[in-house]
């Protein structure tokens, strides 16, 4: 029970971290800047 709870907590933290980073990518400012950087290479 205890280790199962720990496992779910770890999964929850990992999912939260991934969601937060993905949200950072969706910020218009970052999106535009990364796009400009990407396109400038070609």
């Amino acid at each position: 029970m205890k280790s199962a709870a720990k496992r779910w907590l770890a999964r929850g933290i990992a999912a939260l971290a991934l969601a937060l980073v993905f949200l950072a990518y969706t910020q218009p400012a970052l999106m535009t800047e990364l796009s400009q950087q990407l396109w400038a290479c070609f």
């Binding site: 990407l38 396109w39 400038a40």
Partner: protein, 408 residues
């Protein structure tokens, strides 16, 4: 058996290895992943061409691959701890040098050579050696999956972080901050410090480096694993570098390319973890073969339908899931076959093959585009190589190699 018991007593705990190993890989893989963001500010301020910057990054990738076996050899002989310390220091020096370099050659020496060697000393092969020696074989693939997923997360995380740093602190200060971050590997390395007796052989007598190399390079399964990993490097770096240009040619907006790269980063974390976990249940040769086969199917499907934002996102998610998922099973098979005595060195050689593939993927992508005016030839080359990789992994023998020389 007594020796085994002693070694087991001296082993590091799994939690400690996983936490420290994962954080080392997150840091080392993450820092380098956003280097493209420095292209514009550095070339503009220094008055360099893009070629100067790109050349240094290409050298970095080659040095990473070439220094890998050597760093692995030292780690296997003297422990990962010392290699990680040296790698962390070189990483920080490389980043400081990148900020201070006023000439193209100095930039190549620091951002290219120093950082390439630093990466060889702080990434998968070194951490996997510690995992191999300290985590039971039945948990090894899963543990490698955790470490690989951490590296994938580092890559995913650091692009927005580095972009924010450049925007708020300036490109040079951002590099100073990253140099400080690279030094965090040092205290983490303490958590991976092994006792001297742990470097013993996994099975059989102690083996010399020359004998280990002769054995590995003369063994068919090792050659097949290297061939598969070559294809992995070719496909990933071709897609990672040339896909934005391909999408631009197809008339898609830059935001679509950015979102695709974000999706690759996100699904890469899930894919590497899943591959490591599956490696505990499924024969790894089938897992590797399946990964390469799925890549082939994804590429054929993507090339066969009209390109739209939705098809790009689906392709990115699928390829992201398969992105670094070859890393845990490939390294776990190497440990299974040859034991863990020379694991970091052999992992370094397999990775060298990956880097040669990466180099060719980038270079041929550009070369054939210039010759033919499209990426079609390279896409289909990536498909053909994928079929080959799916096939060559099938006959890989995963069992421990039989050695004639018994323990004296």
């Amino acid at each position: 058996m007594n020796a085994t018991t002693t070694a087991a007593d001296a082993k590091l705990s799994m939690t400690r290895v996983l936490i420290c190993g994962a954080m080392v890989v997150t840091t080392s893989m993450g820092i380098r992943h956003g280097f493209g963001l420095w292209l514009q500010p550095i070339t503009m301020e220094r008055g360099w061409t893009r070629e100067t910057f790109s050349f240094a990054i290409a050298i970095q990738n080659l040095c990473w691959g070439l220094a890998g076996p050597l760093a692995g050899m030292v780690a296997d002989r003297f422990g990962a701890f010392r290699v990680l310390l040296a790698g962390s220091l070189l990483y920080a020096l490389g980043l400081l040098g990148m900020a201070a370099s006023a000439s193209g050659w100095a930039f190549t020496a620091t951002a290219g050579v120093l950082m390439g060697v630093a990466q060889a000393g702080t990434t998968y092969a070194i951490v996997y050696g510690v995992i191999g020696r300290n985590i039971a074989p039945e948990k090894r693939s899963w543990a490698m999956g955790v470490a690989a997923a951490a590296g994938s997360f580092g890559q995913f995380l650091m692009v927005p972080v580095e972009n924010w740093l450049i925007g708020n602190a300036g490109w040079q200060n951002a590099l100073f901050v990253l140099a400080a971050v690279a030094l965090v590997i040092m205290p983490l390395a303490v958590g991976l410090r092994e006792r001297p007796q742990q470097g013993g052989p996994a099975h059989g007598a102690r083996q010399s480096i020359a004998s280990a190399l002769r054995e590995a390079f003369g063994y068919r399964s090792f050659q097949l694993l290297m061939a598969g990993y070559f294809v992995c490097g070719f496909q990933l770096v071709f897609i990672g570098v040339h896909m934005p240009s391909y999408l631009k040619d197809r008339g898609l907006s830059p935001q679509v390319a950015t979102a695709a790269l974000a999706l690759i980063g996100l699904f890469n974390v899930f894919g590497t973890y899943a591959a490591g976990s599956l490696g505990e249940k499924v024969p790894k040769r089938y897992l590797l073969s399946g990964i390469y086969a799925l890549r082939v199917l994804a590429m054929i499907a993507f090339l066969s339908v009209p390109v739209s934002p939705m098809t790009v996102y689906l392709f990115a998610a699928m390829m992201g899931f398969l992105w670094l998922s070859t890393v845990p099973p490939t390294n776990a098979v190497v440990a299974q076959i040859f034991g863990v005595q020379h694991m970091s060195m052999l992992g370094g050689f397999v990775f060298l093959s990956h880097q040669v593939g990466s180099f060719l993927g980038v270079w041929l992508g550009g070369k054939l585009y210039d010759k033919t005016g499209s990426y079609d030839v390279v896409w289909w080359l990536a498909v053909a190589l994928g079929v080959m990789a799916a096939l060559v992994n099938l006959p890989v023998r995963e069992g421990a190699i039989e050695r004639r020389t018994a323990a004296a």
